[in-house]
């Protein structure tokens, strides 16, 4: 009976998607970029006339990140990203609260292995370095604060797998706090300097240089640390609480 209902609900929904919804969206690959705001975002000319952006040549544009996705995430729609960070922050707090009220103290133990333990010692610094690389170069190459932070958290997970005594210390909480408050403070600095919340108040430099993009790299570094700390503490809370 339950399955019949399920097929019915899913069928109605699929019918709605395919027969009603599919005709109103453009065919795959035929998106009309000229009608979308991202056309101006790619050419970085939302506040000025159209100009062609060239790698390592264009200078002092309204936004200086070579990675256009980054420029949307951390600059044009930075407010969404603040919200996104907050979602993760709430989830981390929630997991912490719910893990702390579990009555019998439980802990998932792993079988320790010598090979894993020694190789973790070698690999962990490299993972950490790679994570930091990803979020420092977030405005130049694919990546950014979220993937970078996740990479770091994966390194921490590896430490947990290899060593049963390993614990995420309260330092993670403080990193979270400093990074989260730092993001809001950067927004408020924009308010103080430019008069608008989350304004990019640093020079944007040459597209493609490491030091370019104004506040974008700073924001992404903060997000990287924050996401790394949060995901580490989530994993650790899920493991023991």
């Amino acid at each position: 009976m339950r399955r019949v209902w399920a097929i019915l609900v899913a069928g109605v929904f699929l019918y709605f998607l395919i027969a009603q919804f599919l005709p109103i969206i453009p065919d795959f690959g035929n998106a009309d970029m000229f009608l979308r705001v991202s056309f101006d975002i790619i050419s970085k000319s939302t506040t000025s006339n159209y100009n062609v952006v060239e790698f390592k040549k264009s200078k002092d544009l309204e936004d200086g990140s070579a990675n256009v996705v980054t420029s949307i995430v951390a600059n044009y729609r930075a407010f969404d990203t603040l919200g996104e960070v907050t979602v993760l922050f709430c989830a981390a707090i929630g997991v912490g609260i719910l893990a702390s009220v579990l009555k019998p103290k439980r802990k998932i133990e792993f079988e320790e292995h010598r090979v894993l333990r020694i190789s973790t010692g070698i690999i962990f610094p490299l993972i950490l370095l790679f994570g930091v690389y990803i979020f420092i170069h977030g405005h130049l190459s694919p990546g950014g604060g979220f993937p970078g932070g996740t990479t770091i958290a994966l390194g921490v997970l590896l430490l947990m797998l290899s060593n049963n005594e390993f614990k995420v210390t309260p330092v993670a909480k403080h990193i979270e706090q400093v990074a989260g408050a730092g993001y809001v403070v950067i927004g408020l600095m924009g308010l103080a300097i430019g008069g608008v919340f989350l304004m990019n108040f640093l020079p944007t430099g040459v597209v493609g240089n490491l030091f370019s993009g104004g506040v974008v790299p700073i924001v992404y570094i903060l997000i990287g640390f924050k996401v790394g700390a949060e995901l580490s503490s989530v994993v650790s809370d899920l493991r023991e609480g």
């Binding site: 709605f16 109103i24 939302t46 407010f79 907050t86 709430c90 009220v101 608008v196």
Partner: protein
């Protein structure tokens, strides 16, 4: 400047991480700060383009004469809740984030941004719902809310595909006549879930009846008000509601079933949760008839419903299994609130029902009034029963019983609380709210003028669009 309403609570939330109780102490001051800002420094009709990006490209916050009263109401509720609720653990921090999120969802003028705030609210709601060891109810909510959030995301992205931008005002540029109703159906599913219209709102009774002093208040009052705002913004202001008759019928069925469900319950919390479902369904049913008078009456109804349910839920959480004999103040507030829900003359509820019925008769709608009248009869039945039961409860026995019950869960703490079981803050807040209901009962124009103003503005798209075109300051 209006970004401060979101930035300040968030900054304090991040700053309150190191100490568990810090968030709880920040909360009243932050809510007070927001109210002071709203009253003295921010007046309606201004917009803020975040990061100085033009409205179509970035995110805009809009403070117009619709969002302004909603903001004041929501922040007032948060202030009152921070005084009445017992926020242990890190729940204070979560409430700070909730403050930012409801302010954000009311202020934002961007579909994707509203999705982000909706998700913040949902995540907090799941955590808050799990308070008092109610993980099963919270999980049910998580599944429903997860589907709802996904639908909203599809809707928001479809708006971008069709209009080329995510801005709410520019969404009216969608030229394809087929597209708008289909996009709206996605949004509608979300709202039916989050506003607890019954087939999709089945999660609500389990969540609201967990016996916490802040779960039903935070979710049923604060979040609901902000979502009713978003509902009216999307379906009354920007787009048209797809098939309003169907929504109306769905909401009416939901009213009847919720009232019948409430009648059957043996637990006060569950009965009140069903009553909340019926109240919000009434508001949705009224909003689906898109006429100024009806919409205004719907907001009045929401105002009365939210305040009465605030009192009822707060007191029922603190009462546990005891009666009113040892605590007359709580009893009076409880009785006032239930009379106002039923619509007894001299209370705000009477005027809410009067305006609604009058407006409905004016637009020749007779199905909804019939449903409302049936609902009133059932509602009066069970609320009076609960009042009598609580007033005449044999005190000695029930206290002992209660002490025994909670011994396993909370131990010594609850036994200490028995002497003065409703905290001072909660008593004052509920009494103030009950008196407000009486005052509004004598001077309904205080609220009615406001709701008429909101209704006039929300049904008129032009001022909103002009405001965004004019640009930031």
């Amino acid at each position: 400047m209006i970004a401060l309403l979101i930035a300040i609570p968030l900054a304090f939330a991040f700053a309150s991480i190191p100490h568990e109780r810090l968030g709880r102490y920040f909360l009243p001051f932050v809510a007070l700060f927001n109210l002071v800002c709203l009253f003295f420094f921010m007046q309606p009709e201004q917009i803020l383009e975040i990061g100085k990006w033009p409205a179509a490209y970035g995110i805009v916050l809009v403070l117009d004469s619709v969002s302004y009263p909603f903001l004041i109401f929501v922040n007032l509720l948060i202030l009152l809740m921070s005084l009445s609720a017992t926020l242990e653990n890190r729940y204070g921090t979560l409430m700070l984030v909730l403050t930012a999120a409801v302010n954000g969802i009311i202020l934002t003028g961007d579909f994707f941004n509203s999705f982000v705030f909706l998700e913040i609210i949902s995540v907090i709601a799941y955590i808050v719902a799990a308070h008092k060891d109610n993980a099963l109810g919270a999980f049910k909510y998580l599944i429903f809310g997860g589907i709802g959030g996904t639908m909203y995301l599809i809707g928001a992205v479809s708006v971008y595909i069709k209009a080329g931008t995510l801005n709410m005002a520019y969404a009216s540029f969608i030229t394809d006549p087929l597209a708008v109703p289909i996009i709206c159906i996605f949004f509608l599913i979300t709202f039916l879930v989050e506003l607890k219209v019954l087939p999709l709102g089945l999660w609500a009774p389990d969540v609201y009846s967990n016996g916490s002093s802040f779960t039903p208040v935070a979710l049923g009052s604060i979040v609901t008000v902000s979502l009713v705002y978003l509902f009216s913004r999307i379906f009354l202001n920007i787009f048209d509601l797809p098939s309003p008759e169907l929504v109306g019928i769905l909401a009416m069925v939901s009213i009847i079933f919720a009232e019948l469900g409430a009648l059957k319950q043996k637990n006060l919390g569950r009965a009140l949760s069903f009553a909340t479902i019926s109240g919000i369904s009434t508001v949705v049913a009224a909003l689906s008839i898109q006429e100024t008078e009806v919409v205004s009456a719907a907001y009045f109804y929401l105002f009365n419903d939210v305040i009465s349910k605030f009192i009822l839920f707060t007191l029922s959480a603190y009462l546990g299994k005891r009666g009113f004999k040892s605590n007359k103040t709580a009893g009076i507030a409880f009785t006032f609130a239930s009379l106002s829900v039923v619509g007894f003359p001299m209370f705000a509820g009477f005027w809410a029902k009067y305006y609604l019925l009058k407006a409905l008769f004016q637009v020749d709608s007779y199905a909804l009034p019939a449903v409302i009248l049936i609902a009133v009869v059932i509602e009066a039945g069970y609320l009076i029963r609960w009042n009598i039961e609580l007033w005449y409860k044999d005190e000695e026995e029930s206290v002992l019983e209660h002490g025994k019950d909670t011994e396993n869960e909370e131990g010594i703490e609850s036994i200490e609380e028995i002497d003065d079981f409703v905290p001072f803050g909660a008593q004052v807040v509920t009494l103030i709210l009950a008196l407000t209901l009486v005052v509004i009962g004598f001077m309904p124009n205080l609220i009615h003028d406001q709701t008429m103003n909101i209704a006039n503005n929300v049904l008129d798209f032009r001022p909103y669009f002009d405001l965004i075109l004019r640009g930031g300051m």
